[in-house]
Subunit: 133 residues, 6 copies
């Protein structure tokens, strides 16, 4: 595959995982670093996400763990909580994954990511999550 074909292949994976939210991030880079947008599409999605060794659902569980732990990734968490819903994780599973991060990354990181999930769930018209033991 040449550079353009890698981009096209990546765009299909990006759209199947992130939907419109991913596209918007790439577009926001168009007039400042189109090459970064290209690498997100062609490398991150075309090369890495496209690999069959881990399912899209499993990749989002890892991704939610990484983004929550990094902190300061609210934009990306919004994209990837949407992605997590797109690839088959339920709102309850996502809330639980973010709750689980409190053990390893502490309460503030877990709370911040959960408040992003709250916004995404509301934007998509999902009902409240009740996960009390």
């Amino acid at each position: 595959m040449n550079r353009e074909e890698r981009y096209e292949a990546g765009l299909k994976v990006l759209n199947s995982v992130d939907g419109e939210a991913g596209q918007r991030v790439v577009e926001s880079l168009a007039d400042v670093s189109p090459e970064l947008g290209h690498q997100v599409v062609a490398w991150a999605f075309g090369t890495m996400y496209a690999r069959p060794e881990l399912s899209p659902r499993d990749r989002q569980l890892v991704t939610l763990g990484v983004l929550t732990a990094l902190g300061g990734c609210e934009i990306e968490l919004n994209v990837h909580i949407n992605a997590a819903l797109n690839v088959g994780l339920s709102a309850t599973e996502i809330a639980e994954a973010l709750l689980h991060t409190a053990v390893y990354a502490g309460m503030p990181r877990s709370i911040n990511a959960t408040l992003v999930a709250k916004q995404v769930f509301a934007d998509r018209g999902l009902p409240p999550v009740s996960n009390l033991s």
Copy 2:
């Protein structure tokens, strides 16, 4: 104590330390992860904060150090700078603790936390802090 009693015990500690600000964080989680709100109250406050081995004032000094170093914790810093005032630290001591973090966490983390303190002090109608040597 059962689960409900641990929550009630935690709520008393939470209120004595964080006041209304802590309650608002717990409430913001009610429709997305009430269990996370429960753990903040029952575990963080009911189990950890309630221990007598360290005074509430000392716990806030440690907490301010952790939250400043983590970065991206402006919401939590707002709660805990309020908490620090509630448990007996003066505005001058808080500003100094945040100044001190510059040595270990660098200027940007110290500045970001100090700007949160500026907002909290203004919200509470405190006079300007003058800590020039």
Copy 3:
């Protein structure tokens, strides 16, 4: 459940997930902070890991993402790469999860975690992982 019962319940979960490696971490804390060891067992495992909303395998995917992103968690990654194998992730899936983190946490975090996996796989006598596309 009282405090002692929560510890016992947590110990069963800890052993089913982490095996001996988790026990060794708890024991290493015995003469400096036995309460921290208690909270790892009773809270992290007895309360958080025991929840049915997410499978043990899914929890390890999130955990690997968090620990890799945090950095400086080689001890904990060793425990949880072992745990990941214990709860049904294959060596190939673990290597892929750590490869995936490179997109979000960068190459150094991904490499460091992968080198811990290399050690764990060797300690358990697993064959080399070949994941070339």
Copy 4:
């Protein structure tokens, strides 16, 4: 040099590097921690930036790397992307430096910093950057 002279010397360096943006950060600290503002000027700029062992342009390349990797430093990145332009880095070089960080700090940190650069370039009326290979 006495304390006041160190401040004056630092202010000259600060102005030559950061311009007005740096001044605004110092002023924002005036009523909460003027000593922190003093240390930014007198120590960071008067003592550290003033050293001849590394050029102002080189210092900004290091600074952009550090601030991008830390995360949560959008305010400081705004100041230092302006500074980078002030000391001779082109918009293309800045975009490339931030693209480069993706290798080591991951895509989200690189994207977040690049979006700050987009804002700074627009504020200064610079034309779009086209860095496609």
Copy 5:
């Protein structure tokens, strides 16, 4: 004060807080970056630690919080757990401060710092800490 006097003033503060452990860090920098050693002594201790707005004991509580949260600071934690003992914190208070960080920085950071404390307490011949509730 001139540069040399600031160093001498800082050295007195460094020795009163960190004792020999701080000196060893400064000496280890002598043949690679003596200016960094100078700044640790003259700025961090001579200028920042010397300020009266916060007691040495309070500064160590903040420092322990920052260093634990940063991660990867085992060398510095060793110095500052020693320092914490030097300025009047008991081993039990230090263990509790590090336990407290688990709420905000997560279990791995808390465990890693506590294992450094275990080594420091053993090096100084202190008896085991028993902090079970």
Copy 6:
């Protein structure tokens, strides 16, 4: 270019920048995640480092900033301090770049990176750096 050609192109860049140290990292991944080794070579070096928009020397300044700020990257800092020398930065400039990071990332990160530089400089038989003002 096909996959194999991208690897070969990347290997030339890797060798010109990192020398043997980079090769050793790639080889250490061969039996656990050869794909990660491939991506380091083909993507990080073949695609990103190969771009002409920033000189190799400038890329190392950014890289040193990122790796120092991340913390816990001693292995990678060793490789890239070697790389920095390979592409024309002097030991004095490297020490100064690491000193500069103290302003933004704090003293511990700066000290830890400087101690890696000390080892690299000694391994290469370089004379002591004297950078006192």
